[in-house]
Every structure is written in C-alpha cells, then in structure tokens.
C-alpha cells in the first residue's frame, strides 16, 4: 500500500513538473520578482537611511545587522517561497476542481496525502532555484559573505522549514477547496504574512499585540533564523530553541491542515460540492 502511494506521489510530482516546464515564463518570473521586489525595498532603505550614521545605527540596533540588502533579500526570498507555496500546492486542488478532474482524483485508491502534497516537489525545485539565484546575487552584487558553511546551515534551516510551508500550503488548499476563491485569498494571506512576519522590517517595530501574533507564524521564525545564519553567522546549535519552536509549529500546521482537509472533504462530499466551482 505504501509502495503504491509512493508511486502515485512520484507520478503526481512528475505531472506537476511537466506542466511547469510547459510554461517557461514561470521560470522568468521566478527570477524577476525575487530580484526586483527586494531590490525596490533596498532602494527605499537607501532613501530612509541616506547614508546617515544615526539612521543606519538605528536600523542596526533594531535588526542586529548593518547588511540592509542582505536583510531585505532574505525576507524577500522567504516571501517569494510563500507565494510559490500558495500559488502552487496551495492552489493545486482548486485547479483540479476548475478543470473538472478533482472528483476523478478522489475516486482513485490513493492516499489523500498524495493529492494534497503531490505537487509540492516540483514547486520545491522552483523555490531552491530561487534561493540559489538570490544567494548568488547577495554574494556578488551586495558582497554578503556566503561561504559553503553558511550555505549548508541555511539549507538545513530551509529543510527544517519545509514541513511548515507544506502544512501551510495544505491548510490553504483545504480552505480554498471550501471557499472556492484563490486570487483574493492568496493576496490577502500574502499581505497578512508580509505585514506580520517581518519580511521587510524587524518585528520589534510592530505593536506588541502584532508581535504576539507574529511569533505564532512559522515564516517569522524561518526569516529570523536564515537572517541569523546568513547575516550574523549564527551556528545551528545556537538556533536550536527557535528551530524547535519552528518544528512544533510545523507539526501543528500539518495536523491542522489534515483536520481541516478531512472536514472540508466530508462536507463537500455530503453536499455534492466537491466538483463545483
């Protein structure tokens, strides 16, 4: 049974990869936005800092680094990863629904996990490609020293974060299946994460109530940990407490996703709304 599910998972991943390859503009977009969006914020930071010693000191005191570009590009990379997850695995079930093939998929004897996570590997390739490009840009254009050790530590943090993002995508997929609106929901959710998770700013500038919400969101921890590794050279043991919290949040996210998905599926099957759009 497990072997059959693994084969189905491989087939689902391959299918998604093939679809992705047919739309090469996706890969141009995946190069364009991760470079341009944080670049705009770097220019904005230059406007706010203006090379003024006091302003830059204030920034360093609040963020723990003087590497403004590094700070913004790391935040931007995680934000783009979130976008990839929401537009990819997060919207995959809804896409099947609009194509009219969701009910057929639910009739196959594969685990629901295959349907939920099957498209994720192709989008992970996309995300890793984006991280690589951003890493090269940070190293070459902004002279952020990213050695092999730093890259490995950052990859470990990213690997630990994968379940959190998969859980987030699955939770989103289940909710979209229920409420049937992708575009507006993706924009809203991305906005919420951008405002709360410190993508372009340190979360200490948020009001206390917003900081309390921010620390319950996995992307906040991922951004902070990768910034610590890349910009401050933090070791993995020093990040252990935060990574444990991240692991706990990941597990919580995955359990919530499974429960919400189960509930949405049961309701959709009962009222016959599974294939409606």
């Amino acid at each position: 049974m497990l072997a059959a599910d693994l084969r189905a998972f491989y087939a689902a991943a391959l299918k998604e990869w093939r679809i992705m390859r047919r739309y090469p503009t996706v890969f141009i977009g995946i190069l364009f936005w991760p470079l341009i969006l944080p670049g705009v914020y770097v220019l904005q930071a230059n406007g706010f800092g203006a090379g003024d010693g006091q302003a830059l000191h204030a920034f360093a005191a609040r963020t723990g680094t003087l590497q403004v570009a590094g700070f913004l590009y790391v935040g931007g990379a995680i934000y783009m990863w979130l976008s990839v997850v929401l537009w990819g695995p997060g919207s995959a079930l809804r896409e099947e629904q609009t194509r009219g093939s969701l009910e057929q998929q639910f009739l196959t004897p594969v685990s629901r996990l295959v349907l939920l996570f099957g498209s994720a590997p192709a989008h992970l390739v996309q995300a890793f490609w984006m991280f690589l490009v951003i890493g090269i840009v940070l190293g070459t254009l902004f002279h952020v020293p990213i050695g092999a050790g730093t890259a490995v530590r950052a990859l470990v943090v990213i690997a630990i974060s994968v379940p959190a993002f998969l859980g987030l995508g699955a939770l989103f997929a289940a909710l979209v299946l229920r409420f049937k609106e992708v575009n507006g929901t993706v924009q809203l959710l991305r906005g919420v994460f951008q405002v709360l998770c410190g993508v372009t700013f340190p979360i200490v500038v948020l009001p206390l109530w917003a900081q309390a919400i921010a620390v319950t969101l996995p992307p906040t921890h991922v951004i902070a940990d990768i910034r610590s590794v890349v910009l401050s050279g933090a070791s993995l043991p020093s990040l252990a407490p935060d990574l444990l919290v991240l692991t706990g949040l990941s597990a919580l996210m995955c359990v919530m996703a499974a429960l919400v998905f189960q509930r949405c599926e049961r309701d959709s099957r009962r009222n016959g709304a599974l294939g409606q759009y």
């Binding site: 220019l43 904005q44 406007g47 203006a50 003024d52 204030a58 993508v199 700013f201």
Partner: protein
C-alpha cells in the same frame, strides 16, 4: 462625435455595472497597496527612525513625513496600475468571452472602445487613490498642505499621458494574448521607477534617465511638492513643459501603435484568437 461620446458613456455604464457585481475587486484596489507595500514600507521606515524622525528621508526627499511621502505616492500609483490593469482586463475579457470581434464590428471607432475602458479605469483608480490619500492623513498620520491643489494641472496632464499608455497597453494585449506577466512586470517597473516608494535621488544614474522619461515622475513630484513642501526635481515650469510634451507624445504614439496593431491583426484574421 456625439455618437462616439454616447458610446464612451455606454462603455462607462457597462464597466461600472460589472464593477458593482464584484465589489470585492474595488475593495482590493484599496487594500492591496495598503498591505502589500504601504504598511511594509512604513514599518521599514520605522526601523530607520532617529528619535521618532526620519532624518534620512529628510535628506533624500526633503520631508521627514514618511506616511505623507508614501501615501501621495500610492495615490498616484493607483492611477498607473489602474490604467495598465483596467485596459488589460477589459480587452482580455472581450477576447476570453469571444465578444471582441462583435464589438469591433459595431460602427464605433476602435479608439473609442479603448478610451471608454481607459476612462473607467481612471475613474475607479482615482476614487481608490483619493481613499488611500485620505487614509494616509486620517489613520497613518500624514500631514498634507492645502497647496496640493497647485498640483491639479499636473494631475490632469498625467491623466492625458495615461490615456496614451492605455492605447499602448491595448496594442500589447491584442498582440501578445497572454500578457499577464508582461503587464505585471511593466506596470510595476513603470510605477516604481517614478519614485512612488522612494526618492528619485537614490536611483542609479541609468534608471534616473528612465524615470525622467515617465509622466508619473513629474506628476508625482509636483503633487509631493504641493502636499509636502518638497523641492521639485526640476524647476516647476520645466516639469510642466516636460509633462506636456510627454503627454502629447504618448497619446500620439499610443494611438498610432494601437491602430497599426489592430489593422495588422485584422489583416491576419487573428483579432479574436487566444
């Protein structure tokens, strides 16, 4: 002429009726810039504050009012995004529902069809811009001067320029057929290079040249000079002259490009294909 004006009126009524059917889209016109770039930008600005004052922005833009700087920019940017996306969606909708050829067969000039959609987009995005502008003052503590009224002629010239851009966008959408990525990136670069999010002074030299070719740069600069008391990039008369020349040029080039593209597609027989 009277018939063309009636056609423009009919397009406006049709587009507003469609907008009323999807009120969430209008709400998103205001919410999207708010949570996607205004609040993150305000918070980034807060990270640079020294004793509650933005000393850096005062040096690069001539004002330390971060909220004022950003919300005037957002109001102007909503016009830019509005014209790009409004015209794109209007034509894409006709193509996707296979009604473009029928609309083209009516005895209305093709330019009128684009002009109608452009005017709807500008009307809707103007309302969104005014709401954002007001929110900046009421909720986010921006301080505007009444001298912003002096920027109204600049705003009018900017609107004329954007009509020219509407024709260019229409030509691109008809030609490319899957224009989302192109329009997304072009509109973003167009708006951002105009100094919506940061002072033009921080742009690299080659991008400054690009910025000075954009009507939004001058329109926004004159509005900020009035509302926030910033120093204009160039003497005011020069900025008006540049804006006037760009507006006339964009309308002429845009109209010519649109008519040429439309004629070519009709000859090829690919007007309604997608």
């Amino acid at each position: 002429m009277g018939a063309e004006l009636r056609a423009v009126g009919a397009i406006l009524r049709r587009d507003f009726r469609l907008l009323c059917r999807h009120p969430l889209n209008f709400v998103n016109l205001i919410l999207l810039p708010l949570y996607q770039f205004l609040i993150p930008s305000l918070l980034l600005g807060a990270a640079f504050l020294v004793n509650g004052r933005s000393v850096g922005l005062a040096r690069t833009a001539g004002t330390d009012d971060i909220a004022g700087f950003l919300f005037v920019g957002a109001a102007a940017s909503s016009l830019g995004f509005g014209i790009f996306w409004g015209v794109t969606w209007a034509i894409k909708r006709e193509v996707d529902t296979c009604t473009l050829e029928q609309a083209w067969l009516t005895p209305t000039s093709r330019e009128t069809l684009v002009l109608g959609s452009a005017l709807t987009s500008l009307a809707v995005s103007s309302v969104a811009g005014v709401v954002l502008f007001a929110m900046g003052g009421i909720i986010f503590g921006a301080h505007y001067s009444a001298r912003i009224a002096l920027g109204v002629p600049a705003l009018l010239l900017l609107l004329v320029s954007l009509i020219g851009i509407a024709f260019l966008v229409a030509a691109v959408v008809l030609r490319v057929r899957q224009p989302n990525f192109l329009i997304d990136t072009t509109s973003y670069l167009f708006v951002v290079t105009s100094g919506v999010l940061f002072p033009i002074a921080v742009l690299p030299a080659f991008l400054k040249f690009a910025a000075f070719a954009l009507p939004t740069t001058y329109g926004l600069d004159l509005l900020r000079a009035g509302a926030l008391g910033t120093s204009p990039l160039l003497p005011v008369v020069w900025e008006y002259a540049a804006l006037g020349v760009i507006a006339a040029g964009l309308v002429a080039i845009g109209r010519w490009t649109f008519l040429r593209t439309e004629r070519r597609l009709r000859v090829q027989g690919s007007l309604g294909s997608y």
